[in-house]
């Protein structure tokens, strides 16, 4: 049986996949399931890195993000029979991601209320300013992590992952209008925080001197 398993191994470029083919003890009758698994991996795996990066920013913790991404893929695999081929697999995976993240947030963190987000904005909103491009990735990520999670989610989906408002609304499960207002506030908050970082580098002072 082992030889059959090896012979039936599909040619795939990824060495990890090759190993996974040989690692399991495959039962007879598994071929239908096997092709289903291949199809799922083909559709879903290319989005894993983006999902991980988004999860890391949403949770602020890489190892939790790893756990959540694994959970997303397991849930997606279990409900793959409900997925319609040709539809937006990426949006579907993100929807599962947000479901998992919200579940874990309830478990891991005190979920910040929207009222807290409003208070944050009142305290932090400043007039838009030009964001200097010398800011490091770490500066930008640190600022992103500071904005309330409701806004951060929308900024990540729309500005980073380039989902349409409609898709983002479906992923998060809120009306389009809410997406638009959260995006606007999230962008403003982020810009404000980046401006603060720039000020800490003495940029404003230089600019004022130049004027």
């Amino acid at each position: 049986m082992t030889a059959m398993v090896f012979q039936s191994r599909m040619q795939r470029s990824d060495t990890v996949d090759k190993w996974l083919d040989s690692a399991g003890v495959l039962a007879s009758g598994q071929s239908a399931n096997r092709s289903n698994t291949d199809q799922f991996e083909l559709e879903a795996m290319p989005h894993m890195n983006d999902l991980f990066r988004t999860a890391t920013r949403l949770l602020g913790d890489r190892s939790r993000a790893e756990d959540v991404v694994q959970e997303v893929y397991l849930q997606a695999w279990k409900s793959y029979h409900r997925f319609e081929p040709g539809t937006n697999c990426r949006a579907w995976l993100y929807k599962i991601l947000f479901h998992c993240v919200n579940h874990h947030r309830r478990k891991w963190f005190r979920f910040p209320l929207l009222r807290e987000a409003e208070e944050f904005l009142e305290a932090n909103l400043i007039q838009p300013a030009v964001v200097p491009d010398f800011l490091t990735d770490q500066d930008v990520l640190a600022a992103l992590d500071k904005i309330p999670s409701d806004y951060r989610s929308v900024v990540l989906l729309v500005d980073v992952e380039e989902f349409a408002y409609k898709d983002a609304a479906e992923i998060i499960g809120v009306p389009i209008g809410t997406i638009m207002s959260r995006l606007s506030r999230g962008r403003k908050a982020l810009r404000g925080l980046l401006e603060e970082v720039a000020m800490s580098y003495g940029v404003r002072k230089q600019r004022e001197e130049a004027i």
Binding site: T2, N33, L74, L141, V160, L194
Partner: protein, 237 residues
């Protein structure tokens, strides 16, 4: 650069852990196998008498009531010929063993490994996963073949590093195995049967195995961590 582009650049620059894909794929495949087993059961149930199926399950999947040799034969039949070599010795020598409360003294382990192989102890110790400690090291024989065997324990968890001198130009490639991955020019192989996972590599004169009951990706990662040291410590022929 616009704020939007800065943001995209920063988020996309985040490194993704290299083992994540392996971890996710392993989980999916395990889930897929589970669902096949459960669907197979649903299909078979009407056509098989429950008692006959239970007897089959007991005979094939449970070690209880079997002799160690028949259990080893049943489990190792699910892996390739060369993987069988290492997994068989692990189950025979490390799993079916009653351990003393304390590890063997280092001097005893050195003596039992012999001057040719005792440098393996340092290589294993240096890269042992957290919590695992060397419990025993010796040369042993199983089914007419000699092995160098180092056993690590972490509570009830058992892990073996098994080294087998090659016989008759054995290679994993000739055993029709495809490498799981290559690292520093070394090809690594991985298979699993029952609760055991086995990772392996070879050099010109030896087959080297790491067998544990950890998940497949962890087992392979532990082997990756130890491989350079083991390769260095093996006698050069």
């Amino acid at each position: 650069m616009s704020e939007n582009n800065l943001l995209k650049r920063a988020v996309h620059a985040q490194e993704v852990p290299p083992q994540l894909q392996l971890r996710v794929l392993t989980a999916i495949r395990a889930e897929a196998q589970k669902s096949v087993r459960s669907s197979a059961w649903r299909w078979m149930a009407p056509s098989l008498a429950a008692a006959a199926f239970a007897a089959f399950a007991v005979a094939f999947f449970l070690p209880r009531g079997q002799s160690p040799d028949s259990y080893i034969a049943t489990v190792t039949s699910r892996v390739s010929n060369l993987m069988r070599v290492g997994m068989g010795d692990h189950i025979h020598c490390a799993v079916f063993r009653k351990y003393p409360k304390t590890p063997d003294p280092v001097e005893k382990m050195k003596r039992e490994l012999g001057p040719e192989y005792f440098p393996l102890m340092a290589a294993v110790n240096a890269n042992a996963p957290a919590g695992f400690a060397l419990q025993m090291a010796h040369q042993c024989r199983f089914q007419g073949r000699g092995f160098i065997h180092l056993v690590l324990k972490n509570g009830e968890k058992i892990m073996s590093v098994v080294v087998a001198p090659k016989q008759d130009k054995e290679t994993f490639a000739a055993d029709r195995l495809v490498p799981a991955m290559s690292h520093s020019g070394i090809a690594f192989y991985q298979q699993g049967a029952a609760e055991f996972q086995i990772a392996a590599f070879e050099n010109g004169s030896h087959l080297v195995y790491l067998i544990s009951s950890e998940p497949a990706y962890k087992n392979l990662r532990m082997m990756l961590a130890m491989s350079a040291g083991l390769n260095e410590a093996l006698p050069k022929s």
